[in-house]
């Protein structure tokens, strides 16, 4: 099965997970949330969500707590950079690989 009958003849991507392939495999650092610092978590109500707003891959959920779809998170770190309370830390993926072994 090829793409002969695909509805376009151009490169046209819509936002949504997976349009650029499984980009989670590119990640070398993973965003980890500290619920004691995250504003929506602390107040337990809709607030802030700067991480959700800035994520270029749309993989952060607008939920309490925010969750990250690691299948597609590229680990760019924009969420950690933008978080006003520094609630997000980028953690080396090697650490999680070690945990998986244990």
């Amino acid at each position: 099965m090829g793409t002969r009958h695909y509805r376009r003849k151009t490169s046209h991507s819509e936002h949504g997970p997976g349009d650029g392939g499984r980009t989670g495999s590119w990640r070398v650092e993973r965003p980890v949330f500290d619920r004691n610092l995250c504003i929506p978590c602390k107040r337990n109500k809709e607030a802030c969500f700067i991480c959700w707003l800035f994520c270029p891959e749309i993989v952060i959920s607008r939920t309490i707590p925010p969750t990250v779809d690691l299948e597609y998170c590229k680990g760019c770190g924009i969420c950690a950079e933008e978080c006003p309370t520094k609630a997000i830390t980028m953690v080396d993926e090697a650490k999680f690989a070690e945990e998986d072994k244990e």
Partner: protein
């Protein structure tokens, strides 16, 4: 209505009749008067379009790419180094499949700096995926602009309408200016398959992977290679669309023409001169002179250069003894690009038949060097007597 105007005015009047919504251009000799006139039309209100002044040709085409992506009919024009400066965006417009129409007022490229006519500028853009149409007089300039919008929007491929700087752009000639109603009947408003829309957001032509991929709807979408193949496939299919274009144009305007070629006294000719643009009309004078001497010679203009009408050209040249290609451009390091393309078509369709014409290549008018009709006549006569050279021969060279 018949009027007398210069070639740039013919282009601008043709563009106005096509009702473009966005025009962006940067001035460069000899193209400048086209965009000056269009800016005046917008200023006086006789053309309802956004005229966007920019700081370079690269930006001019970038504006056209953006506006066309948003669903607008757009126009730009350039020459020579301006065209070279937009080269990156030229390639982009083709891959993005945007039906942009651009007049290229042919001029020599630097170095050394030169503002006069040859065709090295557009010929050097041959492989960018644009359709290229060449004009030989003012009526053709106006008509080709109108046809180009229809064809570009039909096949979603941008088109260069090429005409010789000064020789056509700055000379005056009578031509028929059609009524707006006729152009509207021929050319419906542009209706793109997709136009940028905040309610249907999309990334256009972003990083596209080497292989195919599943899109967000779960459908298998093209990789880069499929998209580029479809451009080539549709360029080849555009030859048939061009025939439809001419039939429709004739139906509305009453002027008929072969979509690909413009032969003159070729039917019984043993020798045929071939070229692009106004040079082929000058060659008609030489053909008439040589016919008076009893030499069976004709001349054929190639109006449609990309996609290359290989089959039509080979059929038109079947049975001829020699094809003499005159060019105002060169694929440096080899020969004229048209001569190479022609040889390829002849080999494909006539190879092994025993009636393969010889091909001779003459380079003329580089950097605006005056082409004397007597020189053309003498060159053509010599070429009918014996094959002059395997290498391209430069006419009027004073080394």
């Amino acid at each position: 209505m018949h009027i007398i105007e210069d070639g740039n005015a013919a282009a601008a009047l043709g563009v106005r009749l096509c009702r473009p919504q966005v025009i962006a251009a940067y001035p460069i000799t000899p193209q400048t008067p086209v965009t000056e006139k269009l800016s005046e039309y917008v200023e006086e209100g006789s053309l309802s379009a956004q005229y966007i002044p920019v700081e370079s040709e690269h930006s001019a085409l970038a504006v056209c790419i953006a506006a066309s992506s948003a669903g607008a009919r757009v126009f730009t024009a350039t020459s020579a180094n301006g065209l070279l400066y937009m080269h990156e965006q030229v390639q982009w417009a083709a891959g993005a499949r945007l039906p942009i129409v651009m007049c290229v007022v042919n001029r020599a490229v630097g170095a050394p700096w030169n503002i006069w006519n040859d065709q090295q500028d557009s010929i050097s853009q041959r492989d960018t995926g644009w359709i290229q149409m060449y004009c030989a007089d003012h009526q053709q300039i106006l008509d080709t602009v109108i046809k180009a919008y229809w064809l570009a929007e039909k096949v979603s491929i941008p088109i260069m309408v090429c005409y010789d700087g000064y020789i056509l752009s700055h000379t005056f000639m009578p031509f028929d200016l059609p009524e707006a109603g006729k152009v509207d009947a021929f050319l419906p408003p542009f209706q793109p398959d997709y136009a940028l829309n905040p309610r249907e957001p999309a990334n256009l032509n972003t990083v596209t992977l080497p292989d195919v991929r599943v899109d967000v709807h779960g459908e298998l979408a093209h990789g880069y290679m499929e998209i580029r193949y479809l451009l080539q496939e549709d360029l080849r299919l555009a030859l048939a669309a061009a025939a439809e274009m001419e039939r429709r144009f004739a139906g509305v305007f009453g002027r008929t023409a072969d979509p690909y070629l413009e032969p003159y006294r070729c039917d019984d000719a043993d020798f045929v001169a071939v070229g692009l643009g106004s040079l082929t009309y000058q060659l008609r004078v030489s053909v008439d002179a040589l016919r008076a001497e009893g030499i069976r010679v004709g001349v054929m203009g190639v109006r449609f250069y990309r996609p290359f009408p290989d089959e039509a050209i080979a059929n038109a040249l079947k049975g001829k003894k020699s094809v003499i290609v005159f060019e105002k451009a060169l694929s440096y390091g080899y020969e004229g690009a048209l001569a190479s393309d022609l040889k390829s078509a002849l080999y494909e369709y006539l190879g092994g038949t025993g009636s393969l014409p010889t091909v001779q290549n003459f380079i003329a008018g580089i950097g605006g060097r005056e082409i004397h009709t007597q020189e053309l006549t003498d060159t053509l006569r010599a070429a009918t007597q014996a094959r002059v050279s395997k290498e391209p021969v430069w006419i009027g060279l004073k080394l």
